[in-house]
Symmetry: C2
Subunit: 205 residues, 2 copies
Amino acid sequence: MSLNEYPSKLLESAVNEFSSLPGVGRKTAFRLVMNLLKRDSGEVKRFGETIIRLHDEIRYCKVCNNISDTEVCSICTDGTREKAVICVVESIQDVMAIENTRQFKGVYHVLGGIISPIDGIGPSDLKIDSLEDKVKAGEIKEVLLALSTTMEGDTTNFYLFKRLSKYNISLTTLARGVAIGDELEYTDEITLGRAINNRNPYQQC
Amino acid sequence: MSLNEYPSKLLESAVNEFSSLPGVGRKTAFRLVMNLLKRDSGEVKRFGETIIRLHDEIRYCKVCNNISDTEVCSICTDGTREKAVICVVESIQDVMAIENTRQFKGVYHVLGGIISPIDGIGPSDLKIDSLEDKVKAGEIKEVLLALSTTMEGDTTNFYLFKRLSKYNISLTTLARGVAIGDELEYTDEITLGRAINNRNPYQQC
């Protein structure tokens, strides 16, 4: 079924809105809209209002740029977290991924992206100045660069290293190695090579 | 990454709303919400408002129950359509599917579902009375039953046949046969049997 003609303009605009979302085609969008139409009026209204509130009311922590309901996020205000250790990440999703490991006890700094000339994103589009200001203030002992292992991630890592290496802090990065569950046969040679160079004493766990 | 803890309650409710849509899990919902957060405020507001308007303003044609921006839909008001031929369909999607073939010149009657005891849907939940009223009024020559070839569709067809066969109209149904592009080897025996019984004179097309 091609969906070229809609019986209603309003239906068509709703389908347009949903199909603007990533990974949602016109057929899926139409199915989602038809699902909304079958619901109670109150439920649909709440859906729409949540989206509007999302943009009107959502705030970003003024310290680390993480999403927050308050001016400073719950991680930055948590007295048990080590404020001298900053983990630099690309996005809020990465904060959540690291939080879910429960292995990191420091605080975060969300860059809001990575350097990507092809997308027109340069250092000035990211929250790098505010990161340097924190380091410059002298309270920071360690900056952990936790960016993706892509070309853009490596570029950003290198740029941050250049900017921050003049300060008296330890600059660390995530360990590279064979992922848990991976078969050696299918591990790429760069990863495997790094895993050999960075080999650790055997530990029973 | 498990998404158990969200940094913001508002973010969490937005993810909840999106994951209530069919086929959208919590990870996808989170991705969609993050996409909305990256957009202009105006764009997001329009998205939310379209959803609210969708339920407040959408109307159903009072003649055929199709979705419409006006009291009577564009198909029912179209003078070139044959009002004496009614195609009975389950849903608005089916109207669009048939319209896209450009083969049907009559009008529609949308039942709003099919008889399905397992889902608690009986004849009184569907727009069957208004269909019978139209037929009773005596202007109708043909009722084409265009329901799905499922057990529920067949049940509804049979029920409609029982209700409408006492009137002086021709009751027709969609042709059953081998779909275009199907291989005979993989066609089920009921379909193939019907295609043999309903065989047509060969025509060059």
